[in-house]
Symmetry: C2
Subunit: 236 residues, 2 copies
Amino acid sequence: MYVTLSGEHRSAFRSTSRDIATAPPHLKLAANSALYFEGDEVSHVYIIEDGVVRLTRVLEDGRRQVIAFGYPGDIVGFPARGLHNTDCDALTPVRLRPIRRCVLEDGAQDPDLHAALLDAAMDEISAMQDHFMMLGCKNAPEKVASFIKSMADRHGMMAADGANVHLPMGRADIADFLGLTMETVSRCFTALRKDGVIRLNGAQSVVIVSMERLARHALGQNTPAPRERHCPTLAA
Amino acid sequence: MYVTLSGEHRSAFRSTSRDIATAPPHLKLAANSALYFEGDEVSHVYIIEDGVVRLTRVLEDGRRQVIAFGYPGDIVGFPARGLHNTDCDALTPVRLRPIRRCVLEDGAQDPDLHAALLDAAMDEISAMQDHFMMLGCKNAPEKVASFIKSMADRHGMMAADGANVHLPMGRADIADFLGLTMETVSRCFTALRKDGVIRLNGAQSVVIVSMERLARHALGQNTPAPRERHCPTLAA
DNA sequence: GCACCGGATTGACGAGGATCAATCTGAGGC
DNA sequence: GCCTCAGATTGATCCTCGTCAATCCGGTGC
């Protein structure tokens, strides 16, 4: 769960990051290892080429918010006043391309890259606004349905019924992402399963039976009475 | 969107204001009028020079989220795929400086301004993360205390007891910003008042009696036993 | 002055989700 | 195969906050 890296791990990574600062184009990270911590000096931002990372922030008393999950193509590590403002951990093995921080600050150095970074930052702002709608406006079942739907969408899985979505994060991560508890997330998964909207192959693999009905759940327009009393959909 | 320009980048904006002379130098907006709507094509982003704006998004069914309040120095209107992704309305009379959108896309055109915009976008990402912590982690009293504190902080009001904070937004706006209802916000204001942490001069003007105690409320470390002294607390 | 009106406050009540606790499941390890 | 353990699920109960409704307050018009 809480990936508490010992000091040796941390310094081990730091030496690695120094190495890549000098040249190497790629960085690999094992599952459950940390890329950086809140408060660390920002040396690079990272383009995720493969794998999934988790961005988190914690309150003094330990309450945790998952800010985002980073998928291939995403850029993570934008600084605030030169420092990282989240923790970043790998949920799966991850391959990253580091970009030196100075590129952020000097627009003339590489204008195209700089514009791409600004574009990525604006996309992130937009994505965070969607997340706001979830956190602030939706109730628990809507949040969970929205989450599954967004994972399906971004996974490239076309919005096709039968799509199999892999969830590399645990229920606790989903809960902290949605502002719920693990138990509530689990109950909502179960409700969607019993409703025939999704199927579960283990906890990490979701098959979307009906994307359209999932979308309705995400908006709180739960099918009022879709009772299928003969079809054996795993009776209640 | 607590994007406040750092000193170095302020000058970048100023120096380039001449370069973008084809755009009108200023734009004024009356209170309660709209600057743009969600879905509008983005022609400019705007630096707020005076006044306060409100950024909102609504769900199909009318549920509303206030994404941010924009104060002088903030930049509003970053596009997503070329479109505005929020509504923007003036809460007070507002004076704005427009920046043409093409500056966002062509980094070579004005590298300094481009870097300043990226910096502003990154600051906004950081501010939104703070907002996530509020929406996802905090309970109602903590949210309201955090909100008042953040308004006091950004208002430039030094963190001094006795600071008078003006709230140009109504209770409903605050509620939609915090993911609460108007009634709950009102109750939390009252609780803080009865606790002697704040005083109210009408609904829009808050005097912070004790910034330190307000900060404790914001973290949920409510003073455990600040009992009104009728009975000497002779515990033990 | 008075009536009016929108926003804010207060109260009563109930539902939704958190909390606490008891299984259940499945992936490793041997 | 069996054992172990972490994560997931399910259940029972509590409490925060949303909902509905009444009232209050400050401003505006007459």
